[in-house]
């Protein structure tokens, strides 16, 4: 089993519902976020192109944050999801520094926090909150090892990219082009 997520950059309107849903579902402290929206405008005026992406932890297959954690607090959970055990985390910040996506943040309670793919909802057979709430249905989630999962199906017939794969992180968050 290998969980993955695909975000359709052509359907995303940048409404930030995913951000608010995540903050609510996971009691993210005020002023922080586990997912966020990025708009990139590129080109020469008037030929401009804008890409909108809902970003979060890439749940890397070769996660630098897991590698550098001195206590083993950052670890791979079922389905390749990278999680933090708050009671093993000393708050040294090494994982925050090691993440090329800057997807982690220091929680005011001391430990380091990040996107969990809403593992507590997945275990109950539900979808991550950002996926469930998206008004344009632009986020696909599922098991990469299952060819019939929503994410496998959409990746099989759409062009996609991941973010800085050249950093060697083996990311599992895809962006449909």
């Amino acid at each position: 089993m290998r969980y993955a997520m695909a975000v359709d950059t052509r359907k995303c309107v940048g409404c930030s519902d995913c951000v608010v849903a995540c903050q609510t579902e996971n009691s993210v402290p005020v002023g922080y976020c586990r997912d966020w929206v990025v708009e990139v405008t590129d080109g020469t005026y008037p030929q401009l192109q804008t890409e909108i992406r809902s970003e979060r932890c890439n749940q890397c297959g070769n996660a630098p944050c897991v590698r550098c954690c001195p206590t083993g607090s950052s670890h791979y959970a079922d389905g390749g999801i990278v999680l933090v055990k708050p009671r093993r985390c000393i708050g040294c910040g090494a994982c925050i520094t090691s993440c090329p996506y800057d997807a982690r943040y220091p929680h005011p309670d001391g430990y380091v926090d990040k996107c969990t793919f809403c593992i507590h909802l997945i275990k109950r057979g539900q979808q991550p909150s950002c996926v469930a709430v998206c008004p344009t249905r632009c986020i696909y989630f599922g098991d990469m090892d299952d060819p019939n999962s929503e994410v496998s199906r959409v990746l099989s017939h759409r062009r996609y990219k991941s973010l800085i794969p050249e950093a060697g992180t083996d990311p599992y968050l895809y962006f449909l082009l």
């Binding site: 990139v40 405008t41 001391g110």
Partner: protein, 313 residues
């Protein structure tokens, strides 16, 4: 003109607009740890080489400051932890992939070793010192008879401590400015030259001072050579690495780096040391203090500039 505009909705404290998670305690610790590593390395090395009598300050006197340096450094590290009460979790596992785990365990060896070495030579400062406890007297006898083994442990672990402070940074591929293995030797060289500088400050013996000044000069030249290599490697690498090197080559950190680290911290003290070795009268404290200042600035500048370098996507 082709333009790219990135708008991000993320503004997490300490993360955006650029990483700011490691503050002054980290470079301060790196300085104190590197300095202690340098002092302990020379003390143990010259003890093993049988130079205890001719290099008294190096072998006996200077190491007495290292327990204080290491404890202050550890205090700074502890202060920087966000989840302080769980710090002991460091010592429940050994994680070979994590340089920080290596460092934590290395400190667990080198800190007690520095205390023992300092205690063995306490009579350099208090000539009539007597241990009030029976167990302490027995421990002193034991360690005195095994001083050679202790010295070897100190040589090995001080080198690991000196290198690890650089490896800690170089293991982070997410911060391109740190992502070069030359940082290990560079931090080691910086720590060794700082250690040599402290022994020059402490020593009252002219021939010993000249000897350590000569060593310091060699290390300063090596350090300069490593810095040149650092830039050569980056400028021949990928775009993110070229951009990272530009922080020091025209970017916002150019003046602090070249003025404080290279000119004040390496070139000027090296020239003064050359004059001193040629027989000119130069107060020994001046190049030594400049070297220490340069080492400190080197770590502060690298810590902060590194957190500003990043991948763009």
């Amino acid at each position: 003109m082709r333009e790219e505009l990135i708008i991000s909705g993320r503004s997490n404290p300490y993360i955006d607009p650029h990483l700011d998670i490691w503050h002054w305690p980290i470079p301060l610790y790196l300085f104190l740890g590197g300095l202690a590593a340098g002092i302990l390395f020379f003390a143990a090395l010259f003890y093993i080489l049988g130079k205890e009598e001719s290099l008294k300050s190096v072998v006996r006197k200077a190491p007495i400051v290292t327990p204080f340096l290491l404890v202050a450094g550890l205090g700074a590290l502890f202060y920087d932890l966000n989840n302080k009460l769980y710090f002991w979790q460091l010592y429940t596992v050994i994680r070979f992939e994590s340089p920080m785990s290596w460092g934590a365990w290395t400190l667990m060896v080198i800190t007690p070793a520095s205390f023992i070495w300092a205690a063995l030579h306490i009579r350099e400062i208090f000539p009539r010192w007597e241990w009030p406890w029976h167990w302490a007297k027995r421990a002193e006898l034991f360690f005195n008879s095994h001083k050679y083994v202790l010295a070897w442990i100190m040589v090995i672990f001080s080198l690991i401590l000196g290198v690890y402070t650089g490896i800690l940074f170089s293991a982070f591929n997410a911060r391109p400015l740190w992502n070069t293995s030359i940082l290990g030797p560079l931090f080691l060289a910086s720590g060794l030259s700082a250690g040599a500088a402290v022994t020059v400050l402490i020593s009252r013996d002219r021939s010993e001072r000249i000897f350590m000044t000569r060593i310091d000069l060699i290390i300063l030249v090596v350090k300069l050579f490593l810095i040149v290599h650092f830039f050569m490697g980056f400028l021949a690498s990928t775009q993110v690495h070229i951009d990272a090197a530009r922080l020091f080559l025209g970017g916002p950190w150019t003046a602090p780096f070249w003025v404080f680290v290279v000119i004040v911290g390496i070139v000027v003290p090296a020239l003064l040391e050359i004059l001193e070795l040629r027989g000119r009268h130069v107060p020994a404290a001046i190049p030594a203090i400049l070297v220490l200042f340069g080492s400190l600035m080197f770590r502060f500048i690298f810590t902060f500039a590194g957190q500003e370098s990043r991948w763009l996507y």
